[in-house]
């Protein structure tokens, strides 16, 4: 069964599935989130009045046309961008207006930005980069916990197939290798929430397939709740549990069957929409 809410245009659209409690443990709770900047922030915010919840061990896709505010939304949820209104709670802890979370909660969150362009030769090895994901935030001498960090980094690199890259500089990696290293960065310590901004961007179909397979397997084994922005609706349909359809405001959310129905897609992307997808082998 679906509930409906009026859109800014006044057209009721499905918002959430109801019935049995689908939230065994809420990892992320967003309520009435509005984000905007510049002179038009008040009249036309980039993201307006968005509410959703993410349950533990679920894979949620955030879809919508270019300029719909997807990256803005996830960055506001993570505290990277300031919000105008609304609340965000991660594992029950409120995100402060300045984007702060308690250190223990922050350590449970990992984020893969859309593009992480390393300018020129960056003297940081893959093992050192992944080690940064293991270290807690705050003041700490570099040699503190060296042994534990080394062991965790080795395991994370092996599980992501990056063991042979450990001593390479991050600026010498291909996009595909870099994305796998970032997954190792997430994997190096236990996490509960993983946020990906177009993880497939810059990857050829084969590399995208490999990355998605790895993400899919790790998500299952680690029990991560995943929130990922994607334009690949075919992949979303096959691998995600829930879909959030965004075009400045949340137009629809629910299972892929419901949220990605032709009628919903036309409402989200406009008439004459042609879906984009890779030809995946698995999962």
């Amino acid at each position: 069964m679906l509930t409906t809410v009026p859109t800014p245009a006044g057209v009721p659209v499905p918002l959430t599935e109801t019935g049995s409690d689908p939230w065994p443990q809420t990892v992320l709770e967003v309520d009435g989130l509005t984000v905007g900047w510049g002179a038009t922030a008040v009249e036309r915010p980039a993201v307006e009045n968005v509410s959703f919840r993410l349950a533990a061990e679920t894979d949620t896709a955030l879809v919508g046309p270019n300029g719909a505010g997807k990256s803005t939304l996830v960055q506001a949820v993570l505290g990277i961008l300031p919000r105008q209104a609304g609340t965000v709670r991660v594992l029950g802890a409120p995100l402060s207006p300045s984007g702060r979370l308690p250190a223990a909660v922050r350590a449970q969150v990992a984020y893969l930005p859309q593009q992480l362009t390393v300018d020129g030769r960056f003297p940081l090895t893959v093992a050192e980069a992944v080690g940064l994901g293991w270290e807690p935030s705050g003041l700490r001498l570099p040699w503190a916990g060296r042994r534990g960090r080394g062991a965790a980094v080795r395991v994370a690199l092996e599980r992501t197939g990056c063991a042979d890259l450990a001593d390479r500089l991050i600026s010498e990696l291909s996009t595909g290798q870099w994305k796998r290293v970032l997954l190792a960065f997430c994997l190096v310590r236990p996490r509960q929430l993983l946020v990906l901004d177009e993880a497939q961007a810059g990857l050829d179909p084969q590399a995208a397939d490999q990355f998605l397979r790895l993400l899919f397997d790790l998500r299952r084994s680690e029990g991560w709740a995943v929130l990922q922005i994607s334009h690949d609706l075919e992949m979303v349909r096959r691998t995600c549990d829930r879909v959030l359809c965004l075009n400045r405001s949340l137009r629809c959310q629910g299972s892929p069957e419901i949220a990605l129905s032709p009628a919903q897609l036309e409402r989200l992307y406009g008439r004459g929409y042609v879906p984009y997808h890779h030809h995946h082998s698995r999962p």
Binding site: I80, L101, R106, R121, P123, E128, R140
Partner: protein, 277 residues
């Protein structure tokens, strides 16, 4: 014309020369250490602007009749904070904005100093530094600053790397990016302000940028990069001073020329490594 070896060795026995060598070691090491992060953070031009603004701070001190060093540190720190905010909030490209800041700071400072007829004779000394004039007190100040900067970079290493890599990633990992960025520019400003006497307004950015770039070209990891940048800075400081004594040339420019040689050597090493086979 170079000095004969005996005279050159004799020169090293003078306390002012020993102090100068220590100052070269300390300021070179400090420049390399802080420069290693400044270069990754793309703040090379910022350090240049800070150097030029220091002259404005000195002229302010002269104008107020206060010991310039006392005015210089708070002035440089405040100036760094204001310029950092300006760069962040202005819609102009940062290189253009910093160019406006540093050229106008220099122009105002020179005019003020000339009008006051103060320091007129030593303007060149301010522009190029006078490492031979450093006192034991200056050296103690630099040693303390080096220890403080080393501790600061060691404790905030993770934050410094993450902020240099990607600010969004840094925030998501619990780094207070805004605070870290401001703190770094204040530390950079203080180091620049205290190094002006030895290094000079025009050459200070070379001390921050060149050793770090040389180290960046040949370092195989971050663990190697930062100590190597500091060691190159220190080595160039001492070698440049020895060369300046041997050839009776100005010390600051000699150090920068040695830094340039080190950079060219690093380029050569890098290109050799990239050659197949």
């Amino acid at each position: 014309m170079s000095l004969p070896a005996a005279e050159w060795l004799e020169l090293l026995r003078f306390p002012f020369m020993q102090r100068a060598l220590l100052a070269g070691l300390l300021s070179g090491s400090l420049g390399g250490l802080l420069g290693s992060v400044a270069v990754l953070r793309q703040l090379s031009f910022f350090s240049d602007a800070l150097g030029h603004s220091a002259l404005l701070g000195i002229s302010l001190g002269v104008l107020l009749g206060v010991e310039p060093t006392l005015v210089l540190i708070p002035f440089a720190a405040l100036f760094a904070l204001v310029v950092a905010q300006l760069v962040e909030r202005s819609r102009l490209p940062s290189d253009a904005l910093l160019n406006i800041v540093y050229s106008s700071s220099l122009a105002i400072a020179v005019v003020v100093l000339r009008l006051l007829s103060a320091r007129a004779g030593s303007l060149e000394q301010l522009l190029f530094g006078d490492i031979l004039a450093v006192s034991w007190g200056d050296l103690a100040q630099q040693a303390l600053l080096l220890a403080a900067v080393l501790l600061y970079l060691l404790l905030t290493r993770r934050a410094q790397i993450l902020v240099s890599l990607d600010q969004g990633l840094a925030v998501s990992q619990g780094v207070a990016v805004g605070r870290q960025r401001l703190l770094f520019v204040v530390v950079l400003a203080v180091v620049v302000a205290l190094s002006i006497k030895a290094v000079g307004v025009l050459l200070i950015s070379a001390f921050v940028v060149i050793p770090a770039c040389s180290a960046r070209l040949i370092s195989s990891s971050f663990g190697v990069y930062v100590p190597l940048a500091s060691a190159i800075g220190a080595g160039c400081g001492v070698t440049g001073l020895l060369a300046s004594a041997a050839f009776n040339l100005p010390s600051g420019p000699c150090v920068v020329i040695v830094q340039l040689v080190s950079f060219l050597l690093a380029l050569l090493i890098r290109s050799r490594r990239l050659q197949p086979g």
